[in-house]
Subunit: 226 residues, 2 copies
DNA sequence: AACATAAGAATCGTTGAACAATTCGACAAG
DNA sequence: CTTGTCGAATTGTTCAACGATTCTTATGTT
């Protein structure tokens, strides 16, 4: 009666997290990242605190949290709005990705991280095979999140998590997710191979081209609408 | 009557910045980073809200902000504490520095960034000449902050700012700031020269050694106390 | 004496109401 | 068409209250 216990430790992080404000933040974060709240939309304190059955004070604490994650834009005396990313924001996000992911692929890959990456690649391929491009998208995010774990830095993992959440604000502009995700399924596989064979420099160069293309595709689909 | 207006836009950022909660956060952030509040110390909601003349709710909003910056540790139902960095935290912070600063020195330096770096180096040298090691410390921080601007990424600048604020939590354990800062005044100058002459790879290698030594020194002074 | 336990104090978490401050739109005046 | 003014709506902040949780201290048992 001891081997099942170790697994529980992974859930321990969920225990500490219980204040109402944090749970409210979780709900809102999810709603934002799934596009339920659209960028630019104002989130009324009264309406939402009412709908969720929490006080305005508690809701405001949640707003602060999300503001710090850059998902909400807090304008004094005017309220909070779902963040609208500018083209410069997207460019900056990709600049950061080049730095963080670039450093990751240059490191000696640990078996653990490679495992995560491999899983994500396989998931994306399976999802692509059944034409589920939404699932390809989430698998792709998992892929890049896994890449970053190569750095073995909790803070970089966290930074990447936030960065991807921010990027999700603009992913919704893609009307046709297939065009955006399809080319990268194969490239993920290729990048994985480069990592496995220890060709770090090639992997880094490959990743740079990868990110350039991804950014271009994203900005192209994004600019016209803004 | 149109050319004077454009210049005003730069000051627009100053307008949004003011809410009691944010100003309170500014005050507390400063107090923490100057060591007035010691790591591990509990910050009582009642005492502080009383002392600053703000309500508990407003203070709690400020606490959330600082918690997100990792300066405060928020434990449910127990209050907020000034963060205590573990040795692993320090190691992780330096891991992130290697990634962010390493990427910075590999880039083609802009004259603007070089100017900031040069200033910081000169300030450190002047302060060292007059034995003001506290000033050397702040100039050194400015040096590394300036390094990061080479990335030309607002988000990386912000990440660095937070990272350095976090590191300041442990800088205070240095009883003799001279031992810690003195060796790096010269190395800052050397790194600047490498950047100016465009020898990016050498600069990167030099920086790695630099950070290794700095981390070692810091951990050495830190570990025994913990 | 050591240790478990239970009552009590202190503090946090959250709420709801209240009022001041600010924004924004509409409408009037120049 | 710009500028001033009024008022409704919303946010910013405070305050008082109460339940929930943690910490402290006193109590009683082995």
């Amino acid at each position: 009666m001891e081997h099942g216990v170790a697994d529980l430790e992974r859930d321990r992080s969920r225990l500490g997290r219980s204040s109402t404000a944090e749970r409210v933040a979780d709900i809102l974060r999810e709603r934002i990242s799934e596009g339920f709240f659209e960028p630019g939309q104002r989130l009324s304190e009264e309406a939402i605190s009412d709908a969720l059955g929490v006080s305005r004070n508690t809701l405001r604490e949640a707003f602060r949290l999300l503001g710090h994650e850059r998902l909400l834009d807090h304008r004094l005396n005017r309220g909070v709005f779902v963040r609208i990313l500018s083209a410069e924001d997207v460019a900056d996000l990709y600049r950061v990705r080049r730095v963080i992911e670039g450093a990751a692929v240059r490191r000696n890959p640990t078996p653990q991280a490679l495992g995560l990456i491999k899983e994500a690649v396989a998931d994306a391929e399976r999802a692509a095979a059944r034409d589920d491009w939404r699932a390809v998208g989430t698998a792709n995010i998992r892929f890049h999140q896994a890449l970053v774990t190569l750095n073995e830095s909790p803070r970089l993992d966290e930074a990447m998590r936030q960065l991807l959440a921010e990027l999700r604000l603009v992913f919704h502009v893609m009307k046709n997710p297939r065009d955006f995700h399809e080319p990268f399924v194969e490239r993920n596989r290729r990048l994985l191979e480069l990592l496995e064979s220890g060709r770090a420099d090639e992997a880094a160069a490959f990743l740079d081209g990868y990110l350039d293309d991804a950014e271009r595709l994203l900005v192209h689909a994004y600019e016209p609408n803004a």
